[in-house]
């Protein structure tokens, strides 16, 4: 009996270990918990460490300052957390805007051939130019700052998702029930919201999550190049570009830890996106 139970237990354990959906779920939840901790800690962290303290300037990493301190004696850990927090919210804003644009365009393209041609042309146009260049142009034209960065990131990151959604829409449109619906005299708006949009939702959520890493990295990149956020904002891009001036005097920790933290955050989003895709995308999810 006991042997039997043990066997059953073992079986279920083996099964559990190999269940990709469960695995994906656990990883997703872990990633979400990590990200939320980052955001919440970043929002409520004690900002006293940001005060100028010449007694503690240029300190390498130690137990009191895990990430070290900068040339004004500000704690780099707190600066990094604040920076990640800002990056997160810029990512949320920019990714949301991108998704809204992508959905609108993909539904628009389903209306008729002309609009579809226009949307396809726009996609090709934006994808033909490297992201970072369009981003710099838009951000610069809008005068930089938070507004420039958010609008710039939003306006450059929609094409990939739009292309994906458009293909999905095309496929759904050729389904019989759409034809039936049309024959029954339903408007394109009604069909769009009732038949097409629900099918797009999984793609949308995964697309939204996977936009994050791009948005955050691009925000940091153009801020680093000086076209983005202004230098008094606690952004990672600012921290990194400031750190550049001190690298040659050997203060490696100014760039290393914030850069590494940014990478981790981006990695978490990527993991989350990929695992969510396994869970909710009907096409990919069942393949496993």
């Amino acid at each position: 009996m006991a042997k039997h139970i043990r066997l059953k237990y073992k079986l279920s354990q083996r099964f559990e270990g190999r269940n990709p959906r469960k695995h994906a779920l656990i990883v997703s939840i872990a990633a979400i918990v990590c990200l939320f901790t980052l955001v919440i800690v970043g929002a409520f962290v004690n900002v006293e460490g940001l005060d100028v303290n010449f007694m503690a300037k240029n300190n390498p990493p130690s137990f009191t300052h895990i990430f070290g301190t900068d040339w004004l004696g500000r704690d780099m850990l707190i600066r990094t957390l604040k920076g990640l927090n800002l990056s997160f919210w810029i990512g949320v804003l920019a990714a949301t805007l991108s998704v809204i644009i992508a959905v609108s365009f993909s539904i628009l393209s389903s209306v008729n051939k002309t609009l579809d041609a226009v949307v396809t042309w726009l996609i090709d146009l934006f994808m033909g130019i490297p992201h970072i260049i369009t981003l710099i142009l838009i951000s610069f034209a809008l005068g930089g700052g938070l507004k420039g960065v958010v609008i710039g990131v939003a306006l450059t990151h929609w094409p990939m998702l739009t292309r994906l959604l458009r293909a999905e829409v095309m496929q759904i449109k050729s389904m019989e029930y759409i034809g039936v619906s049309q024959n029954m005299g339903k408007s394109w708006w009604w069909i769009g919201t009732h038949h097409i949009l629900p099918h797009l939702l999984p793609q949308l959520i995964v697309g939204f999550i996977l936009l994050f890493p791009h948005a955050i990295l691009h925000e940091a990149a153009i801020t680093f190049l000086g076209f983005g956020l202004s230098s008094e904002q606690p952004a990672i891009g600012i921290i990194l570009s400031e750190a550049m001036r001190y690298l040659s005097s050997g203060m490696w920790w100014l760039a290393f830890f914030p850069g590494f933290s940014l990478l981790i955050m981006v990695f978490l989003f990527d993991v989350l996106g990929r695992n969510l895709r396994k869970l909710i995308d009907p096409l990919n999810g069942q393949k496993l």
Partner: protein
């Protein structure tokens, strides 16, 4: 983007150069009659003295009628004789004969007249509106007629490089010809400037036949210094603790000051360009005075400048026209607090002072590409927090600053060899003109002293009034008077200089970290 790419390119080129000629360079270094300098400061407008080249430091390609000696007194250069008439309106100047420009053509009174006329018409930083006419007496004698007495006119004679009439055209600023110690060989914009010895120079022959000025970012410049490719590098205090083999750190005192300029008037609308004027908080003298004595300048020098600087209390510390009575003790936080309390600025529950519902807070702008000003701004704002004054720092480009600087505090820098700077910065007549008197300071007593100083018949008399304008016992434009600016530090100009290179005794440097060091470059030489 452009700049970054450029720097990478230059660093790469230097890398190539250093690998190809590293060996003979290292061995010949101290005997070479060529010098490579990376001191930055590439002028946007080129090398035309009539539009401002040479106003800070020496013009290198051109020479001036008069010059400053080591104690910043006026001395003769091109001129052999000069005199001012008793009414103070006529300057008579005799110049050396048989002087030639670097192209071999002679320099005569015609060229001097041409230079001053061109400068007057250029409407640039060279402000010669007071010059009525110039008369040629003979080929080597010129007479200047002024509209009003002006004791500062002599400083134009000492800073304006003479340009050749026969060779002056629209691209003169890129191909300067002059009678200075060096002549242009090549200028690759954004990369380097190469000059060679002017064979016709009338002064002592320079030791170095050829000078190359590299325009590098600080990082690239130090990398070049470490690989032994550069003989002189300008560095900021951040990099001063780097060790570079074969080079010594030279620390030159300056009047290159930094301070927080505070809007002097209440918010009173906009100027014709739509830039707002005035600030209700900083127009209160209690706020300005309290900040002036609360700030700990020594701490800023130690903390931000790593000790490479001096505390600044006025616009012109230790210059001949500086008034020593303006000195005061700072770092007195408690006294500052009581000044604010007496004036009715009371701390609210958030620790910010308020007076009649007005919060003691304002924005402090600094140019975002200037790391020293950024650090000073952040540190200053932090110090003022203890006082109950909330300052938000904002790093912006100069374009944005131009719009913001009449209504917000600005981290500003001045420092010049002429007392005219005092007039420019504090006279009612210059309110809101470009970067002069940006905070709309106005004091009739100060204006009266300025008038007397400008009309003084001798430099000694002028000096006295320049000093009185700063503080006459009752009022003035320094802390004890109206305190329109919180001066913070004078920045030492730091250079890494090759060990055996003798750059002579340097004058106290003006604003501008770079060209001023070349002032006496014709006397530089290798030591054995």
């Amino acid at each position: 983007m452009k700049i970054h790419f450029k720097n990478i390119l230059i660093a790469f080129t230097i890398g190539l150069l250093s690998t190809s000629c590293a060996q003979d360079k290292k061995t010949h270094k101290s005997k070479s009659d060529e010098l490579v300098l990376a001191i930055g400061g590439e002028p946007d407008n080129g090398f035309d003295p009539t539009t401002g080249w040479g106003q800070y430091g020496s013009p290198l390609f051109q020479s001036t009628l008069l010059k400053y000696d080591k104690d910043l007194k006026i001395d003769k250069d091109l001129a052999t004789n000069y005199s001012l008439s008793d009414n103070g309106l006529e300057w008579e100047i005799e110049i050396r004969d048989s002087i030639k420009f670097s192209d071999g053509k002679p320099l005569t009174a015609n060229d001097v007249i041409f230079t001053f006329r061109t400068a007057k018409e250029s409407n640039s930083v060279v402000d010669l509106t007071n010059l009525k006419k110039i008369e040629k007496i003979n080929n080597h004698k010129i007479k200047f007629y002024l509209k009003k007495r002006n004791s500062t006119f002599v400083y134009y004679l000492a800073t304006l490089g003479i340009v050749p009439r026969h060779a002056y055209n629209s691209d003169y600023n890129e191909n300067p010809i002059g009678s200075g110690p060096y002549q242009m060989v090549e200028w690759n914009k954004g990369q380097q400037l190469i000059v060679k010895r002017n064979p016709y120079y009338y002064g002592d022959k320079s030791y170095f036949k050829k000078l190359s000025f590299l325009f590098l970012s600080e990082d690239a410049a130090i990398a070049a210094a470490k690989s032994g490719d550069v003989d002189v590098v300008s560095v900021s205090s951040t990099f001063a603790n780097n060790k570079v083999d074969g080079m010594k750190l030279v620390n030159i005192e300056s009047v290159d000051n930094r301070g927080v300029v505070l809007p002097y008037v209440k918010n009173e609308g906009e100027n014709i360009e739509g830039a707002p004027i005035g600030n209700d908080v900083t127009s209160d003298i209690a706020i300005r005075k309290a900040m002036n004595i609360a700030v700990d300048r020594k701490k800023l020098v130690e903390g931000v400048l790593n000790g490479y600087g001096t505390p600044a209390y006025t616009i012109a510390d230790h210059l001949p026209w500086w008034n020593p009575d303006t000195h005061f003790k700072d770092g007195r936080l408690n006294e500052a607090k009581s000044i604010l309390n007496e004036a009715g600025w009371i701390e609210n529950k958030n620790g910010i002072r308020e007076k009649n519902g007005l919060k003691a807070k304002f924005d402090l702008y600094y140019p975002s590409n200037d790391q020293t000003r950024q650090s000073l701004s952040i540190a200053f704002a932090d110090m003022m927090q203890a006082l109950g004054i909330e300052i938000k720092t904002k790093g912006k480009s100069w374009n944005v600053l131009d719009q913001a600087l009449h209504a917000n505090a600005i981290m500003f820098g001045l420092g010049s060899y002429t007392p005219l700077e005092l007039y420019n910065a504090f006279s009612t007549n210059t309110q809101g003109q470009g970067l002069k008197n940006i905070n709309y300071y106005a004091n009739p007593t100060v204006d009266a002293y300025f008038k007397k100083a400008l009309e003084a018949s001798s430099q000694e008399e002028a000096m006295e009034y320049w000093k009185k304008a700063q503080w006459d016992g009752k009022t003035g434009f320094t802390y004890k008077g109206d305190a329109p600016i919180v001066w913070l530090v004078n920045i030492d100009h730091l250079y890494f200089v090759a060990n055996k290179l003798n750059i002579g005794k340097q004058k106290i440097h003006p604003h501008g970290h770079g060209w001023p060091i070349t002032d006496q470059i014709e006397t530089w030489h290798w030591e054995d």
